[in-house]
Amino acid sequence: MAKILVVDDDPDFVNLTRRILQQKGYEVITASNGQQALAVMRKEKPDLVLLDIMMSYVLEGLDVSREMAEDAELKNIPVIMVTVLTGARTQVEKISGEYVTADEWINKPIDPDDLLNRIEKALSKK
């Protein structure tokens, strides 16, 4: 079964997500900040990352995503952003300005079924 890294500074959210994922048989590893997340990724090579954006600072998750994209070993790991931030969705062929990429964007509070569906979808694209 796939190994999923949950990156979030909220221990309640990490525990809840761990329970949801473990019930479905996923192996769960965790990190509570960006630096720790990158270190765990390099060591454990997870199949997918659930990445909180706002941790010790607002854009920390996006910086993690940017570092992943620049690292040959990490750039192909699917990333699902899980966040309390509110974003405006726009249809664009090519975006301008600063951006990072992600496989999915989910707003908290999460719906467990929706989370599991999106994880399966992201893993199936690997």
Binding site: M54, V58, L59, L85, G87, T90, V100, A102
Partner: protein, 242 residues
């Protein structure tokens, strides 16, 4: 800052960042709703020219309002700590001074009066002014409690000279808190550059643009915020040189 979804012609641009929880906003507004009657009824007892109002049944009513408001005012931080202890401790940590705060306080008159922001060092989730306000409110809350409770229950029990000192410290705390409250009120409600502060306390969120401008260390992280600030200063110096 945007997130592009892989394999789709879709991008998400960050717009709103949560800054305060519902409990924090409720606590803030209840704090305001109790602080104002506390200050007004306290002034009736403090200023000699208002002393006639402190006599008779009117005086009894003012004292009753002061005490009821004081109980709610005193309990609010305790309720906050009980229900959201992690957020409470995070707030206390974020109110502690940082090395950029002196630079921010030095640069702030030119910013508030002339709109010059080049010299303003990047700030965290709270800027130095908000920290100063928070620290004054925390310290005076402690002094109000330590002096107010014995003043309420200790009359005739506490030696008169000790009681007088309690009144002096209670009054000094009141002067400090009212001065800070008036500055805070003006900046939050009337100052054209600080509109985001009131939005965040009403709705709990702050816009990404406002956070990037006013709370860069919180938004970009300390390292990148300093790089952006240094670049902004270099640009301003080059413009000034031409």
């Amino acid at each position: 800052m945007s997130v592009q979804l892989k394999g789709r012609a879709e991008a998400i641009t960050i717009q709103w960042i949560p800054k305060y929880t519902t409990l924090e906003r409720l606590g803030h507004w209840l704090h305001v709703a109790t602080f104002i009657p506390l200050a007004l009824t306290g002034m009736v007892l403090y200023f000699p020219f208002l002393q006639p109002l402190a006599q008779g049944s009117a005086g009894m009513t003012f004292r009753l309002i002061h005490r009821v408001a004081a109980v709610i005012f005193g309990l609010l931080p305790i309720i906050y700590f009980i229900f959201q202890p992690r957020r409470f401790l995070m707030h206390i940590r974020e109110f502690l001074p940082a090395k950029e705060d002196i630079g921010w306080l030095k640069a702030v008159p030119a910013y508030y009066l002339l709109g010059k922001h080049e010299a303003m060092p990047p700030q965290g989730r709270f800027n130095a002014g908000e920290k100063l306000n928070g620290l004054v409110m925390i310290i005076t809350w402690v002094i109000f409690g330590l002096t107010g409770v014995p003043m309420w229950f200790g009359k005739g029990v506490i030696p008169p000279e000790v009681f007088r000192w309690l009144v002096v410290f209670h009054d000094l705390a009141m002067i400090a808190a009212v001065c800070m409250f008036l500055i805070h009120l003006y900046l939050a409600v009337a100052h054209p550059l600080m509109w985001g502060a009131l939005v965040s306390m009403r709705f709990g969120v702050i816009s990404a643009e406002y956070a990037a401008e006013h709370h860069a260390k919180w938004y970009y992280g300390p390292k990148r915020a300093m790089e952006i600030w240094e670049a902004r200063k270099r640009e301003a110096a080059q413009k000034g040189g031409h």
